[in-house]
Amino acid sequence: MTQPALHDLGVAQLATELRERRVSAVEAAQHFLDRAQTHQHLGAFVALNEEATLAQARAADARLAAGTAGALEGVPLAHKDIFVTRDFPSTAGSRMLAGYRSPFDATVVTRLAQAGCVTLGKLNCDEFAMGSANENSAVAPVGFDAPAPVRNPWDTSRIPGGSSGGSAVAVAARLAPAVTGTDTGGSIRQPASFCGITGIKPTYGRASRYGMIAFASSLDQAGPMARSAEDCALLLSAMCGPDPDRDSTSLDMPTEDFGRSLNDSLEGLRIGIPAEFFGEGLAPDVRAAVDGALKEYEKLGAKLVPISLPRTELSIPVYYIIAPAEASSNLSRFDGVKFGHRAKDYGDLLDMYKRTRAEGFGDEVKRRIMIGAYVLSHGYYDAYYLQAQKIRRMIADDFQNAFKDCDLIAGPAAPTVAWKLGEHGSDPLADYLADIFTLPGSLAGLPGMSVPAGFGEGGMPVGLQLIGNYFQEARLLNAAHRLQQATDFHLRSPL
């Protein structure tokens, strides 16, 4: 039997190869840098810096030789371009930040570097993480002169999902064994589902938001995306932990080994099946794949329990009030003064602000800023923002009621498989409505995953969404891992 290629190894296997010195960090980094070059047409990367990557890899090799290696020493990974990094430009997919160099690294980036990870580059995403198809990026991918679509490697005429679209593509196409993503309303789970990979968003407050370019601060969470739950557990354990001086919403919870119970039996596990996730809007091909995965769980000893999340549909307007409100506030910092784009021609200061922001922001970002500015404006705050925050609590309470009868919740991550590039055209509502199954968990701040569950229309991957109660990441990963021991969907490759 021939040795598997480096890019076919998962994080756990690659870490072992590196630790046992059968492969060097420099070899691993160079292998993936070469793959990034040969797969430029997918549009996954927006920045590479070979010199910086290889310098990091040489340092990793030195620590491996000295016996001072971290848990993930020498493992190459790439970051969604929403995390600021000193070694690479940080653009958030926006013209506003073209060429921006951060003076510091995001906490998540620092923590992964401390574990020994080597950064390959930065990954494409929707502008300021606003989008469900990665069609809102204003940045030219590596190898392109102008913004170009990020392509789903399972069918390059389709979108990869968003907003962590480049991240999902990099893992699916084996351009990196693992990557970081961020999830505000589903931006890890939905692209993971569309690209046939595994992704987890932890409980809100587990991962530091310091250095994650802010979209909606009460929702934004970082998480890993990889091929398997086992790999996600390794990454998540390195990423999470309190950051009290840098992020006021970071939870004071100690770091955990989220992989500690991967192999636990699922005998007697109660899986809640929300009726609202299996209604008319769910495509039959997605339903068939999800039902197949649920049958596997029954074979593994789990019991399916019918539950109700009655405000599932309301989560769309609630989310699309709260997130834009917070975005309009966060994005007010882009004024053409301290960093980022400034218009060439302007009159007074006000005119400079207005023209700078008109030029720097794309259509979707402008729409959300407008919605946010309106719902926060005098006379509308109570009717919209406060009302949305109240229903947000009711949605969170619905989950607590449901968790009285079950240990975790399962359903589809998205109503359909990945759609065709341009299919939603200029109708932003079509994208918003497709977020329906990921928004409730986001509003409640619960940990959630997408796990490959099979294939649907056109041979496109389908993800099973698993939602846990607060701080139940280890149990989620356990359930995902056991499914992956019984199935091989996560091992299939589009290339």
């Binding site: 003076p103 809100y204 009460s218 309301l314 699309y320 404006s377 969170a396 701040g445 607060y470």
Partner: protein, 99 residues
């Protein structure tokens, strides 16, 4: 309740966005489409429900921390200003605001 072109102009001003006439028109249609789905939310009875800001506060007390007001960062003005559009003698330049 539908937004008017005047509303769009007012909100764009609040948001410090210059919108071209065609852009304003498109924005009006799209925002009105969006607020149609928001109407369902406004009809929900939320009397006596506390707004939820930090989601984990749904199950436990979450204290938003304040740290001590002491300087913890070294002075690295040059690095911090490297991405600024206009800087002179360590100061950010903006159009004249005082006559």
């Amino acid at each position: 309740m539908a937004l008017t072109p005047q509303d769009i102009g007012r909100i764009a001003h609040l948001a410090r966005l210059e919108l071209a006439p065609q852009e304003s028109e498109r924005m009006l249609t799209q925002l009105n489409g969006f607020f149609d789905i928001v109407e369902r939310m406004r009809a929900v009875d939320t009397q006596g429900v506390e707004p939820l800001a930090h989601p984990v506060a749904a199950i436990q007390d979450v204290q938003l921390r304040l740290r001590e007001d002491v300087a913890s960062e070294p002075n690295q003005r040059e690095v911090n200003q490297q991405s600024a559009p206009a800087v002179e003698r360590g100061l950010f330049l903006v159009p004249k605001v005082i006559e």
